[in-house]
Symmetry: C2
Subunit: 188 residues, 2 copies
C-alpha cells in the first residue's frame, strides 16, 4: 500500500488551509483525512488528536502572522509603522479567516508562553519607539493597540459593521489617524 507521506507539519498546513476554506471549527480529522486520501486513524500517528491539531494550527498561524508583522515593520517608524502593523493584522484576517480564528484559540499557559504570542507584543512595543511613552504607559499602549487591532478585525470579519454606512475602509483609516494622534498626545 502506497504511503501518503504524512507528518505533523504537512497536516498542520493542510489543516490551516482547511480552516480558511471551511472555518476553523469545521476543521475535523475526517476532513483532513479525506484531503490526504487516508483513513482517520492514520492521523493519530502524527498528531495526538483533534485538540492537538487545532493547537498546532494556532501556533502555526501565530508564527506566520508574527513573521509578516516583522517584515512589514522593517525600516518603518512612527505612523508609518503603526499603519503597516495594523494592516498586516487586518489583511491576514481577511485573506486567512480560518488561520486568524485559530490565533484566538486559548492555549495552555506553557504553550502560550512558548508561542509567537510574546513576539506580537514585542512588535507592537517596537512601534512605540517612534512615540514618547515611558514605563508602564508603554504596556498600556501595547494593550490598547492589541485591543483595537484584534477588536476591529474580528468585528469586521464577523459582519458587525455590515449594514451600516460609511464603508469600513474609511473608518479603518480614520482609526489609524486617531491612534496616531492619541499616541502623540498620551494623557498622564
Amino acid at each position: 500500500m502506497a504511503r501518503a507521506g504524512l507528518n505533523a507539519e504537512r497536516l498542520t498546513r493542510a489543516g490551516a488551509d482547511l480552516a480558511d476554506e471551511l472555518g476553523f471549527d469545521q476543521v475535523t480529522l475526517s476532513a483532513l483525512a479525506s484531503r490526504f486520501e487516508v483513513r482517520v486513524a492514520s492521523l493519530y500517528s502524527h498528531v495526538r488528536g483533534s485538540a492537538d491539531l487545532r493547537a498546532r494550527i494556532a501556533l502555526f498561524a501565530l508564527a506566520e502572522l508574527a513573521d509578516r508583522a516583522a517584515d512589514a515593520l522593517a525600516g518603518r517608524s512612527g505612523k508609518d509603522a503603526l499603519a503597516a502593523l495594523a494592516n498586516v493584522y487586518r489583511d491576514y484576517a481577511r485573506t486567512h479567516p480560518g488561520r486568524y480564528a485559530a490565533t484566538q484559540l486559548r492555549l495552555d499557559p506553557e504553550t502560550a508562553a512558548a508561542s509567537a504570542g510574546p513576539r506580537h507584543a514585542q512588535l507592537t512595543r517596537a512601534i512605540l519607539r517612534g512615540y514618547d511613552l515611558t514605563g508602564t504607559d508603554q504596556t498600556h499602549a501595547v494593550r490598547l493597540l492589541g485591543s483595537v487591532f484584534h477588536g476591529y478585525v474580528s468585528l469586521e470579519l464577523g459582519g458587525g459593521f455590515d449594514h451600516s454606512a460609511p464603508d469600513t475602509e474609511e473608518t479603518w483609516s480614520r482609526i489609524l489617524d486617531a491612534l496616531d494622534s492619541l499616541l502623540r498626545n498620551w494623557p498622564d
Copy 2:
C-alpha cells in the same frame, strides 16, 4: 410520565448557564437534556436543533447585555457614561464568559438585524453626545469604541494579558482615560 415543562425560553436560559459553566462550544443538546432529566429527542419539540439553540442563546445574551448597558447609561454622560458602558461589557464578559462568547456567534443577516446588536451601536452612539463629534466621525468613533471594548475584553478573557505586568485593572483604567482624551481631541 411526568412532564418536565420544557419550552424554548427555559432551554435557552439553561443553555446560557451551561455556556457560562462549561464554555459556549461545550453547550450540547445532550448536556442540556441531562440537566432537565429528559431525553435528547425531546428537545427537538422546542428548538430546531443545536444551531438553533446556540442562536437563541446568542440573541438572549445580546439582549441581556444591551439591557444592562442601557441601565448603566441612564443619567450619565461624558467620561462617566463612557466608563459605565465599558465596564458593563467587561463585567459581563468576566461574570458570564459563555454568554459573552455567545454574543460573538455569527448570525445570519436578518436575524442579526432583528437582534439587540443595533441597540448596542445606538447605546455607544449615545455616549458620543457628550463629546463634540459630527457626521461620519460619530460612526468612526462608535466603531473604534466597539473595537476597543470587544478587543480588550476578549484578549483579557482569552488570557492574552496574563504573564505580563502591570495588572489589567490599571491598564483598563488608563485605556478609558486615553479614549476619553481621544474623543475630546478627535483629529480631523
